[in-house]
Symmetry: D2
């Protein structure tokens, strides 16, 4: 078993890491790191467990450690740190020899840091060597994209062959994306908030890196633009995205549907990889977050309403579980890929 | 006082008509028409009143009449009929000499029927003469657009001067748009439904007629296309729309904002016209349906997040009250315009 | 395998029956009965599947049959019929030799019909013999209580030893209790409905029969009264109940808690029986429907806030999944008990 | 005009004070006090306005002052302070000669502090003289009860004549009662929280003081007990309460209803007093928070479902707007009573 630590273990995403790693066949939770205030106490005592499955027995009594390399006994650390802390701490861990599989945004757009979705750009892991050379680290940082970007990027991957010209995307995002206390009930009940700080910029840049080409030294952004409009809605989990993908030439919706159905990233040897990365639904009113977010244990992305749009565009809706596929599950799948590729 | 009848008086929009007409300075409710089942009984007894203001006293005892021209004593009828009934009944009323101000979709796209928003295309009322000539009616049908289209069209009006090339719009629509029993709580709680039947088509066609030119005989569609994606969210009232408006040339967001702020349709002599048709908000996270839907007694449209988009586009969010500005209030404002223009 | 039919197979509770029976070790779904309109068509085509797990493969193609004894090939039928239909149809099935495990209210309070919760009054199954003698049926009807009553009755069972004098109960019930289209979103969003038709009466009578004594011929009601106040709240699944149980003498809350924790109905040989019928929680703010409704696969009842009340009363909160523990799961557990007791 | 200051002016209840006092005929807002951090800046700049009516123009530019007597220019101060701060600060203001009309809980149960609802116990204002004598203050503190207690106490007042023996009450409380950020959306969506800290104790004690007798020196608690169970539900505004009132002898529900309908506290000379303190509804499913909370500008309490209960009890449901009738409006009505009684 590979020893796994979790940084930011008491928060929303930290708890998802614990839930998903609890019975993982390859990883064993050996360290839970949190703030100084929590360190030294049993996890059960310092964390307010918020998930609707019970806190795993084996984790309850684990003593929380400070978020410092020499306090963490692990081969890999999963980072659920806030971006402003991650920028310093993740570098410390990588320098100290840890593999850091990070859900934080701090390093995603760094030129020598792989931003990876195993179904989309596994070859970008090659940036690890660049990173180590550049920075002189024994460890490495690998990141997964923002919780909205990931749903979109996976569904765009099989469409790359058709020649994407540009993308408009409007999101309807769940409250869990903002953390447990991020969205007060008084803010969102009977309401929509048409703004999520920094989210649009992340979608517009991260997607191009993900779908870009790695030439052994650097990643060249994909040659199109993405324009995003992000909205918060009263949904617990599951980000919905309405997409217009405009192509260089007219494509039949059936071709697009076929490409999505046939999409097979050949990752069935990774435990967290769902049977189907993309599930195409035929009903006129799906996907829906409450109905479809748990498909593939929360790792499948559901797509529906594939139809022709104006001006050689294809319109469709995609939806996935933002704290599993879009956060903790994404980091874990990356870690599984790292092991498969022998970085671990 | 002008005598006003309401067709479909017991439903969701019918109740809004009653609420808005109850103390109207120009109109007096003289007839409430509903199904045969309800006819002959006092309104209070047959209608299940669903609004959070009390049923107006003067309406409680009004005897409901059948939805037939000879049973309705009125100068104008407001129609809240379902489309499949409206197609026959509204024609009967127009033929019988009534002015029909309709919220139904049945006649909106007919070439000789005005589809009007007073702030946008008051001159289209001229189609009434064409209609009467064509159909030999003494009365006339005048329609207002779909509840989503109306919010978008009003905000596009002041932008026409900049040369619109095309529009992408994604909507987040309230449940009241589907009628009181239209959206079960089990369908929408903790959920999004990425589909509203026929809605996208309505937005894509009605908006072009509204913003088109009337040459005295016919309306020529506005010379651009609209591509819509409609979603239902867990909001009671207030449709939110996220818009990308692409122009023939680059326009500064400040210019767009200024055009919206200065937009003055000069309708202050109409009682239902809000002080401001468009309210431009400066906060980064507005408009929001629960906070802004009652601005201007539900008749103002709130706009926010005006910003530059990719490819000479401007992005913004607009929001308005779908059963007031988007339905009953729209028909009443049209009727006020009819009176001002001496059609009534 | 025992052949199982489902009456009312397309509705909310009917779908839960399918979900719970799909991989059941003892029962095999052999008949899905619904209205004449649906009969003759594959289930997949006539049912609008509403659950967030997929429609089981083996059920998709099953041809729906009419709700008539000679069309149903089964040893037992589970009834999800509405009460007004169940009163006639269930009797026909019982007369025709079927065991009917019913979730409908029609026969619950009949003197010769067992109203059973396996954890509470398994011995009431003896009424089957009385019923057959009375009615000359080869089959039999056995019922489970209303979805609110069941949560309360299970938690009262271990308290019977302390001498209950009376019960006040206020409920906060989920919308799924009213069926898929039972509660419009416009009725319940940002709202509470302080009324559920007939519900209070059911809680006040059914609970006394359940906790009553069976002397071999009849059931004598439990010797106390229950006073209920029922409310609908904006929750999808999970009925919460706030209970004041007044006793003949003062009881320490610790005694009550201990009795609940130790409560063991010895049903571990029944596949649907949860490991723990009652889960006692120590957190000050639990149980909560969204967090606890799926405990024990939806069959456990969660209890919390056990505390002393005024006048020798104990107060506590209990909560359980209303369409599993309170409906389909209850009927299935009863059927398992029937098999164990060799009625099947 | 009486000069009015608001302590805790930026919070949820503070904003309600501003909204309700903005056009008040007797009071003029002359001071907005908040934390040191906000002091010295215009209100508009430091407060995040959360109400769906606009921030009143005349308040926007008011410079926020520190929460200290010598910084506040006012005849009366309305306190929306948190209890832990109020205990010290309110005493300072009273000592400095201010009348403090407080919504905080700190002084409510002090023997020489009036806890008053004008409709219930206006004569308790006499405690002001006792208070001044005891404490040597020039000013005085007067309090209104907790937001749940107030709804119940007003409805119990007209029932006192029938001889109340005891009360069971279960509440379904709105999220606004916990302050803007008090209840995260992730805590309450699709959920119920069966616990509100300290709330049950407040209801059980404050109600007895309110309904108690003042003999010129002290208040003697009402001679019965109240047992409360408090629950948070997903409602924005409006606390619903389900009440069992047990009497010394059997009372017909019609008598109770009549007493509530006839209840007239003769306060029509107070501007904030609603036309009817209690509105009795006849519909089987009312009152409902979203439908009825704004009755009487949020100051009326709606009652429904008055019915006979077991054991000489009457059951009913009452509901009122928790941040208007239950907080800011209550303090303002108390201030109006103070003026009428010449304490101001």
């Amino acid at each position: 078993m590979i020893k796994a630590g979790i940084l930011g273990a008491t928060g929303n995403v930290g708890q998802r890491f614990i839930q998903l790693l609890a019975n993982h066949p390859w990883f064993e939770i050996t360290a839970l790191a949190a703030s100084e205030r929590s360190a030294g106490k049993p996890y059960e005592q310092v964390a307010r467990w918020r998930l609707d499955t019970d806190l795993p027995e084996e984790v309850k009594g684990l003593t929380v450690v400070p978020t410092k390399p020499h306090d963490v006994d692990a081969d890999i650390v999963f980072s659920a740190l806030p971006a402003e802390e991650a920028v310093k701490i993740e570098a410390e861990f990588a320098k100290a020899g840890f593999i850091v599989s990070s859900n934080a945004s701090s390093f995603r757009m760094e030129k020598d840091v792989p931003l990876v979705i195993p179904e989309v750009n596994p070859e970008h892991l090659g940036l690890i060597d660049v990173q180590r050379k550049n920075r002189g680290w024994d460890g490495a940082i690998i990141t997964n994209p923002n919780c909205s970007t990931i749903m979109m990027a996976v569904t765009l991957k099989p469409l790359m062959q058709f020649g994407i010209e540009n993308i408009h995307v409007a999101t309807l995002q769940a409250v869990s994306g903002a953390g447990y206390e991020g969205v007060p009930s008084m803010a969102i009940m009977d309401n929509v908030i048409p703004y999520i700080g920094s989210e649009e910029g992340k979608m517009e840049t991260e997607s191009l890196k993900l779908l870009g080409e790695f030439d052994g030294k650097a990643v060249k952004d994909a040659p199109f633009w993405v324009s995003a409009a992000c909205h918060r809605v009263g949904v617990l989990d599951g980000h919905t995205m309405s997409i217009w993908a405009r192509f260089n030439k007219k494509i039949a919706p059936e071709k697009v549907k076929e490409a999505m159905i046939k999409f097979d990233p050949r990752l069935s040897d990774l435990p967290t990889s769902p049977k189907k990365a993309i599930i195409v639904r035929e009903e006129p009113d799906r996907p829906q977050p409450r109905m479809d977010r748990n498909q593939g244990n929360g790792m499948s992305i559901s797509v529906g309403r594939i139809r022709a749009g104006r001006a050689d565009a294809i319109q469709y809706v995609c939806m996935g579980h933002n704290t599993i596929r879009g956060a903790a599950g994404a980091s874990i799948l990356n870690a599984e890929l790292l092991k498969k590729k022998r970085y671990l």
